[in-house]
């Protein structure tokens, strides 16, 4: 599905943000990328979505080289990306964004279905503006609903659980399961620190200092991450 080959991204006079990262996400896979803050996780997601260009390396999507493709082209090919910090718009309503995401006319019931999935009482939200009046948790859920409405082959979520209350957390996990199972062969990449999200992953990638530290099936990686409480769980000598 998605293949990142030797991706590096560096800014002048600064250490590498990404340093020779190679990563393959197979068809139908659920991958969690984790690692310390500042390790390059969000940058990697933005490189995949086309928001940032790598300094070197190639990106393939279903075998097609998309390294030079625009954000729009990648979106149309089937990559969706949920922002860590969703964007607010004056005058654009929840209904409008969900409809744009779906890429087709939706009935009110159709829009509401997506909102209900992410635990928002649809009637209250459908005609709300996506502006500063929405709380962090609300806008985060709308962001997730947009990705669901797109229903693409690959969905990338950047820390989707941030700002979502505990009560909704289980529902959120259900949302990812459903999305994953809903589209035949579709893959999900989630950037997360949450054990409960890692628990449902097929594979876990640990990214630290712009490098892939560990990459493998959940059964192998997760116990190592959770073991050793005395030191930092991302510490190289513990997992390496």
């Amino acid at each position: 599905m998605l293949e990142l080959k030797n991706i590096s991204l560096n800014v002048e006079n600064s250490k590498d943000i990404l340093n020779d990262v190679s990563l393959t996400v197979g068809d139908g896979k659920f991958v969690v990328i984790t690692g310390p803050n500042g390790g390059g996780k969000s940058t990697l997601a933005k490189v995949a979505a086309g928001i940032l260009s790598p300094t070197s390396g190639q990106i393939y999507f279903n075998g097609q080289n998309i390294t030079q493709s625009s954000i729009t082209d990648r979106a149309r090919l089937g990559i969706s990306y949920a922002f860590q910090q969703p964007v607010r718009f004056k005058g654009i309503k929840v209904r409008d964004l969900i409809t744009l995401a779906a890429g087709r006319e939706l009935t009110t019931a159709g829009v509401c279905e997506y909102l209900s999935e992410v635990g928002l009482c649809a009637r209250d939200y459908v005609d709300r503006e996506v502006n500063a009046s929405l709380s962090g948790g609300e806008i985060k859920r709308i962001e997730i609903a947009m990705v669901m409405a797109r229903g693409t082959q690959l969905s990338i979520f950047d820390e989707p659980e941030a700002g979502i209350d505990l009560w909704s957390f289980q529902n959120l996990i259900e949302v990812f399961r459903k999305l994953h199972n809903g589209i035949q062969g579709s893959s999900i990449i989630i950037i997360s620190h949450q054990e409960r999200i890692m628990e449902i992953a097929d594979e876990i990638v640990v990214l630290s200092d712009g490098k892939v530290l560990t990459q493998g099936p959940r059964e192998e990686v997760l116990p190592k991450l959770l073991g050793g409480t005395d030191t930092c769980r991302f510490c190289p000598k513990e997992v390496g």
Binding site: S70, T72, A75, Y81, F83, V87, F89, G91, L100
Partner: protein, 305 residues
């Protein structure tokens, strides 16, 4: 009435066939149609061009249409319209203005509207400005609005000028008594070399009076806009003015607010934000599959909705 006039009518007043309720159509400084109702009387002024619109007290849920049209160049139309809204009446007034110029002369409409709201009266005043036609002639609209709001009355004014008007200078002035409320929502989009100036002056004289002025505007190409607002809090009152503008290309917008509190219990706020479309907004819509241009149009459309 020719097809240009009909098209303008549709654009400014969503007019299709004669409406229910009172109306007066002004076309090239003449009267092209008028209807009064039991509760709403429309009469020509005797001393100057224009009409008096008199709404009986306790009139409820009536719509009044007073569109004005200038359908060709070399017309400068000046009109005085006075609205007298009786106690506790609740009406909607739709006052579009359309100018069409295919020639090289100027088509201009200057409307001076005065509103006298008696105690408890409520008015929703909707005004749409539009200019059409291919000629080089200037299409100019200069509206002036004066509002006297008596105790506990409410006036909401929605004004929209989206396209085709080359030059506009709007002046709105309101004086509010005890408990009176005023809401003004303005939307402007200018392009080419257009110029738009809007100026608000509100005197909050009454106890618990309030005013809320919201301006959303987009200045494209080389167009220029100037937003002036002056709110005087002379009693225990609340005043809020807000100017939000998007600039594109070489567009320019200036916002000059002035708020004066002359009473210790006056609470006045002004907010202004001018800037280009936020990059992350464009990126978000592009990740939904829109091109940059499509994303830009959608953001502007939403902003002015």
């Amino acid at each position: 009435m020719d097809h240009i006039a009909k098209k303008l009518l549709e654009l400014v007043a969503d007019w299709r066939g004669d409406p229910q309720g009172a109306f007066n159509i002004r076309e090239n400084s003449g009267c092209a149609g008028r209807q009064s109702t039991e509760n709403v009387r429309i009469e020509s002024k005797t001393d100057k061009p224009g009409i008096d619109i008199i709404v009986k007290k306790n009139t409820k849920n009536e719509k009044i249409y007073i569109p004005a049209l200038v359908t060709h160049s070399d017309v400068t139309d000046l009109v005085y319209n006075d609205f007298y809204i009786g106690e506790n009446a609740d009406v909607t007034i739709i006052a579009g203005c359309g100018v069409h110029s295919d020639g090289c002369g100027t088509a201009e409409h200057d409307g001076i509207h005065r509103f006298f709201l008696e105690k408890g009266a409520r008015v929703l005043y909707v005004e749409k400005h539009i200019g059409i036609g291919e000629g080089d002639g200037q299409r100019i609209i200069n509206p002036q609005t004066y509002i006297e709001a008596d105790e506990n009355s409410y006036m909401e004014m929605e004004t929209t000028q989206i396209k085709g008007v080359d030059s506009t200078k709007r002046f709105s002035k309101a004086v509010l008594q005890d408990g009176a409320k005023l809401v003004i929502k303005e939307k402007i989009m200018t392009h080419g070399n257009q110029y738009a100036e809007t100026s608000f002056e509100v005197d909050l004289n009454g106890k618990d009076s309030s005013a809320h002025l919201i301006s959303r505007s987009v200045a494209k190409d080389s167009s220029k806009q100037l937003f002036l607002s002056k709110v005087n809090g002379n009693a225990k009152c609340a005043g809020h003015s807000e100017c939000d503008a998007i600039i594109m290309g070489d567009g320019s917008v200036s916002a000059i607010p002035e708020i004066s509190a002359n009473c210790v219990d006056a609470a006045l706020i002004h907010e202004a934000a001018i800037g280009k479309i936020a990059g992350e907004q464009l990126i978000k819509l592009m990740t939904l599959g829109l091109t940059e241009k499509e994303a830009e149009n959608r953001i502007v459309e939403g902003f002015l909705e």
